[in-house]
Amino acid sequence: MINPIISGIVATFDRDNIDTDQIIPTEYLKSIKKFGFGDFLFDGWRYLDEGRLDMTSEDRSKNYDFILNKEPYTKSQILLTRDNFGCGSSREHAVWALRDFGFKAVIASSFGDIFYNNCFKNSVLPIKLTIEEINHLFEITAASPISFEIDLVKKAIKYDQVSSYSFDVKESLLERIIHNLDDVDITLKHKEQIEAYELSRRQQRPWLFDYSN
């Protein structure tokens, strides 16, 4: 079980429709590994030069106007943004890059469907709040860097000493993060059911099993 409290500095991205191409550009999708994408997170905004897979953050010319290049945001664990975060390409590398950088939660008014699913496979919690709540959190975070405390069990974001917003997320998805569960293992417990379904399908829709090539 992981620590069910996420506590850390909030980095803010005040724009809608941040697509997965911005979260991690195509060039880095050439990796065949599942880790090591943190240095390429938001690459186009974070650096002034063009990068390659064999480079690290140290080799690059940084854009110091970009929030993740400023202290204390280099250690951010929570990302606050607006509408439709993670839209576009299905690349799970986008979640891997957020995770590898150190982000554990993303708060937004909505998410791209595929990105949202991908998050739960990699222990990154996507949190949906209303537009009013998001507006309020942007106001709070505007003046100076602050930390939020997210309680996965209580499903609440504590944004100052006394106040918090509660959020809704499917319990079973949350369980996957808290207990680091693997979907393949869970599904294979239903092996016999899948086999039975497949057998009946083979009889009812034989053309799906007939393709010779």
């Binding site: 191409d21 911005q22 065949i32 439709n84 379904y197 053309w207």
Partner: protein
């Protein structure tokens, strides 16, 4: 109770639903390519698993492949070392696990969403997944098709199922007769402009109405392909005689098997009184050719309209507008027709089928591309599209006009191979995403139809097609 096409497909493939309302859906077809599969195969190996049903899987390399391959090209010939590793890795994984692959040397290789249907691997009523968001393309065949992440690629390989929750239903009715020069690409771009890139989030969109019924399979695929740009990971069109004619021509099924299957396929439509959570009606006769001006597919306008400025927009969107205009170098431009273009890209899983190439070729026949165009490339979607186009002499028309005629692949849609924009180059592109850096670092993408891209090549500027 009357049900939608999406509901029918869902019910047909439902293995089980648990107490958390998460369902296991059986997957009939799994397409694989080199970019989103290596980590999934590695996951299988780590768990000592093998694919659940080998014959459900079909693979091809498309994202990384160079498009100036010519003859006798093989994976080892790829100059970019990391791209080469990925293509070679797909070869190894398919060989080791026994998965059918149309590899880089195959005459049938192509963009997986172009290749699959034309080889008959996409059949009506299937559930189809691929580690690529444009898998929605196959919904044109009355399939429940969607893009998935790499963890889900591994899950489908291992279990033949996807663990998901049911989407809501949205219906988009296209009626009316499109004007001259207006294509399926303009119609889907118009829809995205209207409902936004999050307009279909959480929904499966069924495209229907008289326009859709009359549309070719190629046009339906273009529309379903970009459902994801409207936020919907699933796009659908009901099965009709157009679908069956296409499948009969492209599948390897025996006549008796085809006839048996057709009886079922003909039921793949929404019941007359089926309930949709959202319904949108669009008169396509009011649509002009569409071109994107910004860095999101919803930033679309009529080709002759004014680029939005601060006065046109509410405060919330101001930041998005200013960032997009700055990136696109549009601070001073009033209309898109003022702009000078540098490159032309005709291709991608959205618009690289034979119908697209015919439309573009027709517009450039006997003409020359503008001297101001640095490079204009045509990248057919697959080996079969390429061969068909060459048989019709389209390659000669393009080459005579000054275009480069390339080998199949995703190419400049995402610039993972050497086909890329240089910083600040402006491109007329028939692809699906105008995101920052999508076609190359700091490149500027304007999405449009193959016809509009072809006319832009000839005139160097956006041109009225009528």
């Amino acid at each position: 109770m009357p049900v939608t096409l999406y509901d029918k497909l869902w019910n047909e493939h439902l293995v089980q639903t648990d107490e958390n309302n998460e369902s296991l859906i059986y997957i009939d077809r799994h397409y694989l390519h080199e970019v989103t599969s290596p980590q999934a195969f590695e996951g299988l190996r780590r768990k000592h698993l093998t694919p659940w049903r080998l014959d459900a899987n079909v693979a091809t390399p498309d994202h990384n492949v160079p498009t100036d391959r010519g003859n006798k090209f093989e994976a080892e010939s790829i100059k970019d070392e990391v791209s080469k590793i990925q293509v070679v890795e797909l070869d190894k994984n398919c060989n080791n696990f026994g998965i059918r692959q149309f590899d880089i040397t195959s005459s049938k290789q192509g963009i997986v969403h172009v290749m699959g249907p034309e080889l008959g691997y996409t059949l009506p009523g299937m559930t189809i997944v691929c580690g690529d968001s444009h898998t929605s393309t196959h919904g044109a065949f009355g399939c429940l098709a969607m893009g998935i992440g790499t963890s889900e690629v591994e899950h489908v390989l291992a279990t033949q199922c996807l663990k998901i929750t049911k989407l809501k239903n949205m219906q988009v009715n296209f009626h009316g007769q499109p004007r001259t020069g207006v294509t399926s690409k303009d119609i889907i771009l118009h829809l995205i402009k209207l409902i936004g890139t999050a307009g279909g989030t959480g929904h499966a969109i069924e495209f229907s109405g008289p326009y859709t019924s009359l549309a070719s399979m190629e046009s339906r695929m273009t529309i379903c392909n970009m459902a994801i740009e409207a936020g919907a990971k699933v796009g659908l069109v009901a099965v009709d005689s157009t679908t069956l004619d296409y499948v009969k021509q492209h599948s390897n099924l025996s006549d008796s098997m085809f006839d048996e299957a057709s009886q079922y396929w003909k039921t793949l439509n929404s019941d007359r009184d089926a309930n949709f959570d959202k319904v949108i009606n669009i008169d396509v006769s009011e649509i002009k050719p569409q071109v994107t001006w910004g860095t999101s597919p919803e930033m679309t306008i009529d080709f002759d309209a004014k680029v939005p400025s601060q006065e046109d927009i509410d405060e919330v969107n101001l930041e998005n507008l200013l960032l997009a205009k700055a990136y696109m170098g549009l601070e001073k431009s009033h209309t898109l027709q003022d702009l000078n273009f540098d490159k032309i890209f005709i291709g991608s899983c959205t618009n690289s089928r034979i119908e697209d190439l015919r439309a573009a070729a027709n517009a450039v026949k006997g003409k020359r591309i503008s001297k101001s165009i640095i490079e204009a490339i045509v990248v057919p979607g697959s080996g079969m599209v390429k061969a068909q186009a060459e048989e019709e002499g389209l390659d000669k028309i393009f080459i005579d006009a000054g275009f480069l005629w390339r080998d199949p692949g995703c190419s400049m849609c995402l610039g993972m191979n050497p086909d890329q924009l240089k910083p600040y180059e402006r491109c007329a592109s028939t692809s699906n995403r105008n995101f920052e850096g999508r076609q190359g670092n700091l490149g500027r993408t304007h999405l449009m139809s193959p016809l509009m891209a072809a006319l832009t090549a000839i005139n160097g500027k956006i041109t009225d097609p009528s």
